[in-house]
Symmetry: D2
Subunit: 284 residues, 4 copies
């Protein structure tokens, strides 16, 4: 089999975990490319990410589960296997501001993002030309005050029919229902234009300006039912000064949002992110 | 007269402000070293900081007010004059954690902070040796549940008798009363160990850890009656990861706190900070 | 007259400069929007940038020179006037790597870059689709070992016929001749993919990797005859680790290059950059 | 046995390395606290750092070598074992500028640096009071044009008699001879006040100022015979502007130097740094 495989593990910490997993992989002929572990002593949790070359490995993505399950059960491992031959399928949702969308599409086109992007969903027609230029189907699902549930149903059908794994909210300005979110647990990635937990909710740049902060931030996180409160994947900040008006903050923030969202998506599709409680482990 | 003078102005914006002030200074023989302006168009406010060499200037700190007051009144200027020959007198208040104190004393000793530090006030005896090494009088004013008002009265007397201009709370872990604060408006500088407005109040590193943030911050601000809500002078952040426990955040945060507080104090005593509303203009 | 005007001044420092210029502008009805000065005491040089609203100003771009010249001569000012109604005309030159080009075109489209981009010149056909999507004429001037001088002549004719003010080398991988450069003094902006002066010349990421640096950089500078040695407008860095191979440095570097080049161009077309000796003053 | 042990390994990469080491540790009862690996595919090298609790481990620091040597030989491991019960012994060498020294002594006093500091060596008497305040013996070995070799001999004897493991050059302004360096391979840590490889050698801040850079840096590296060319452990930068004179660069640089040197030393004494070729792997 070609390409590489990545095994992600969360387990109660115990002696011999690394040895057991490493032995298993060695016995089956794995040539390890990267391995990383983390132990959260306070929570007594063990995290592992190991990536190996599938050449010479005597199991396939299909047979791995059966053979590995005994060990996994004995060690009480929560685990999943990802193979590079199966590229994640990512949908992008966007409203009218296209800076994150344009950035993600550029990175996708240049090969930086190893995923498929089968469709873009918007509640406006604004970004259609950009989608067309990138040869990606674009679905406009306009939202009115009385059709939100129906639109979400239509969007979920689009996502399902395109077999989407991950949904990126690239400045999608609608709040998703709990029902919608429940279909994609830890698979919806949002970019919020503040340094969370400061300035949750609407108009964060205006509120940052009013508070007179000296740095503004952006935060990419998994979407949960609690608004802007999901596990944080990545954050960054940029310096502002008294010379900057709200419009300057918005503009500086665009660069931040692009970088932070693209890093978060990159790590997600490279299977570097593990969540536990309301936190993430991001293996570098 | 030797040294330099710095004029700080806030005024309603109007045509001819720069010309009028520049003419005044030129007419009296000022050789301008630095000049900076800022216009907040939304608030229609004009800010100016101009520093000049006193050699050849035909007014003194004492005669300036009388001569300048006509112009100031006509243009409705809020202004103050600071002369380098009069060094700000700064008191440091500290509890048991001495990292900011040690840093400020080092910077003072090395000539980086152009101020006098006539005394250190603490509610513990922990930092006495450090004060002694730096030849600065140290006053321990222990606080119990029932003597807070009396202690504050004693502290205010110490500050007054030492003719203190500015009070630095270098990890002083007591909340000052509104009465105390009212004696030093925009002259009490605090360091808060979070990226405000996130994590106001107690134990910010613990709460940052619990929230799973990817950056931690520190904020230096003027103290007002609203806790951790005064005008922000400086903020900075440092990256943390899932590998960092609360104790690591505390340790990384110490470096941040030192840098952020020392910058804020430096700018304050260099007369670079103007406040308006709940914000600061920091001229660089 | 509509819009704003920006006056940029370099002069030998002397008493009364600010007053003289401010008086002149006030006398002609200028409503100052921004003003910034800088004094380089070691070089005895004075720098000024002042921007004002043309509404109510009694001179035009055309009449300003005549009226201002007396004062300018008396004070020995080097100066230029820029009016917002005349947008800078910028040509982009690019080879095969399109990340900076795509970024600049996006920023132009979104209104962040207040300039015209009348043409793109390349020595390859790679970026034509991107140019077409952005409705910008694209000229492919292929370079062979024996036609370099002829191609430069052709390129200079293209620039002249499009009345270009500023040339941006957005990863243009050919070294321009001194003859070419002499046509656009302080008007050709390059992005070099290292933290200059480290790693001038070819393959800087490879050499940074070999040296084992912990940060990589990018530098945007004006092009002079000395390779990678012109006045620096902007630089920035990003952290790398032992986990990063050359390909990771290249990828991380792309984000840096985009940000650094776009900031430099932005400041240049906003008339914020003054050069003297081999340095720049960048007014913020 | 109490405390923890850290095993550091460099080896030719091969299948089964992680499994073999993990099995060995598990078989002897190790409870792993941290484990990190790195594979340099280009060099075909494997790096490992694993730290475990000695409680329940059935080998001691003394018996480990004998038992582990068979495996180590079979797998061609370069390795060393460090135990937390044996604190590294660090000498600090300094000239007249005391900012790094003061910072390291503060961090040592506060428990941040887990090492012993048995002595400070200087070629001046300037820092004696600081040493005395921290209860650390201070040796002044003045250097004249004709006694350099003799002084180095005296210094080496001081280091030997104090059983020093690691020497920190905390702004020690003398160039050490190859002979001196050969006694402490990969155990002498220097702080250079530039972003290496830019501005090697003398007066880097002056040269950075002359070049007009927009960021200045500091670099901590192991000392080798080639000046400022040893393996880099840590680097960082800070922004400067046209407003900053050389003296401002020096002052801003002091904060950088403190941070960069203290991080490098911290990682070194925590046994997080592995060197190969002219590079370092720094496990976080």
């Amino acid at each position: 089999m070609k390409g590489s495989a990545t095994l992600l593990i969360i387990a109660p910490d115990q002696r011999g975990l690394v040895a057991a997993v490493a032995d298993f992989l060695y016995d089956h002929g794995a040539n390890i490319l990267h391995a990383d572990q983390h132990i959260d002593a306070a929570e007594n949790l063990f995290f592992m990410r190991v990536e190996w070359d599938m050449t010479g490995f005597d199991l396939t993505a299909d047979t791995f589960e059966e053979v590995f399950s005994d060990l996994a059960e004995k060690l009480r491992l929560s685990w999943r296997l990802e193979v590079s031959s199966r590229r994640p399928r990512v949908a992008i949702m966007v409203s009218q501001q296209d800076h994150c969308l344009a950035d993600l599409l550029y990175r996708h086109r240049s090969g930086e993002l190893q995923c498929d992007i089968p469709l873009i969903i918007s509640n406006h027609d604004t970004c259609r030309a950009l989608a067309t230029f990138n040869d990606i189907p674009y679905f406009n699902t306009p939202i009115a005050s009385d059709n939100k549930a129906a639109v979400e149903k239509q969007q979920l059908e689009l996502l399902a029919s395109h077999r989407i794994d991950t949904v990126v909210l690239a400045r999608y300005m609608q709040i998703l229902s709990g029902e919608f979110i429940s279909h994609y647990p830890e698979q919806i990635i949002n970019i919020h234009h503040s340094f969370l937990p400061a300035f949750t909710g609407a108009r964060p740049y205006h509120r940052a300006f009013d508070r007179g902060v000296k740095l503004i931030g952006a935060t990419s996180h998994y979407v949960t039912e609690a608004l802007d409160d999901g596990p944080i994947i990545e954050q960054d900040v940029v310096r502002v000064s008294h010379r900057n008006q709200v419009s300057d903050l918005v503009e500086k923030g665009r660069d931040l949002e692009r970088l932070v969202l693209s890093r978060a998506l990159r790590w997600h599709i490279d299977h570097r992110v593990l969540t536990y409680g309301n936190k993430t482990v991001v293996f570098d």
